[in-house]
Symmetry: C2
Subunit: 126 residues, 2 copies
DNA sequence: AAACCATATTCTCACGAAGGAATATGCTTC
DNA sequence: GAAGCATATTCCTTCGTGAGAATATGGTTT
């Protein structure tokens, strides 16, 4: 059942936080590390988990990799992501993450714009 | 996170089917066996799993045990059960289960009524 | 109280998933 | 092409879960 696959993706706190952030728009991996405050391996592996199951998609942009929600989600996925967002609104962890995201949002936008010519040698996350 | 506990409950096909059936009202265990066509142990263990995590509650009625959805669900639980129902509408397995449930519904109602005086020695499920 | 029914629990096995440390890959810059 | 950065993968250990067989429990009937 595809529905079960979706719920399997949702039954880990780190993945829920990732999806909550992604609901705001595409984000690059190093920003995830910054926003969630979790180690690189953890972030990377959970993103891979979500990618293999089709919840998110990734695109390389020079040194960075940008993740975004699936382009054309199934009805079930759309419904559940909407439900998650509704629930997340009232849960502190998620609100904190979005607050931190807002602070670095300009950087995210800049990375997303993806003009390699202007890219500096080092990510400005830290 | 309580939200994760909910999703853990939802990431198994058998449990999804149980919850889908329960959305129609309380049901006794032997009827679950009949509707899902799964062995007793399986049903019983998954119901226990859901009960330990507060998604469902059980009540003994003579030889039978009747399960129902949690009386006062959290906002998150309510939202997710609603979402599940919406998704289930278009998925064959769930529709089949509800169809089979309908056939034995009078029996369910009778068990729920719970007049031990009239109870026969044997469940009429099979 | 013995037989019986519906349900629950225990035991064992196999498997997948999460976390961390170490290492590999792909780009980019010098 | 060597060094450096961001990200991915591998290896290992630990833990929870699902399934089935067998057995236990609690209530009921005779």
């Amino acid at each position: 059942m595809e529905l079960v696959k979706i719920y399997e993706c949702l039954c880990d706190p780190t993945r829920l936080r990732l999806l909550n952030v992604l609901a705001q728009g595409p984000v690059c991996v190093c920003h995830f590390q910054d926003v969630l405050g979790e180690p690189q391996v953890k972030i990377s592996k959970h993103l891979a988990y979500l990618r293999e199951r089709g919840l998110v998609a990734s695109e390389r942009q020079g040194n960075w990799v940008i993740y975004g929600l699936a382009a054309k989600p199934s009805r079930e996925l759309r419904a559940n992501l909407a439900c998650l967002q509704e629930c997340a609104q009232s849960i502190p962890v998620f609100k904190r993450d979005l607050a931190r995201l807002k602070k670095i949002e300009p950087l995210c936008a800049w990375v997303r714009a993806g003009d390699p010519g202007k890219a500096p040698g080092q990510c400005r996350c830290g």
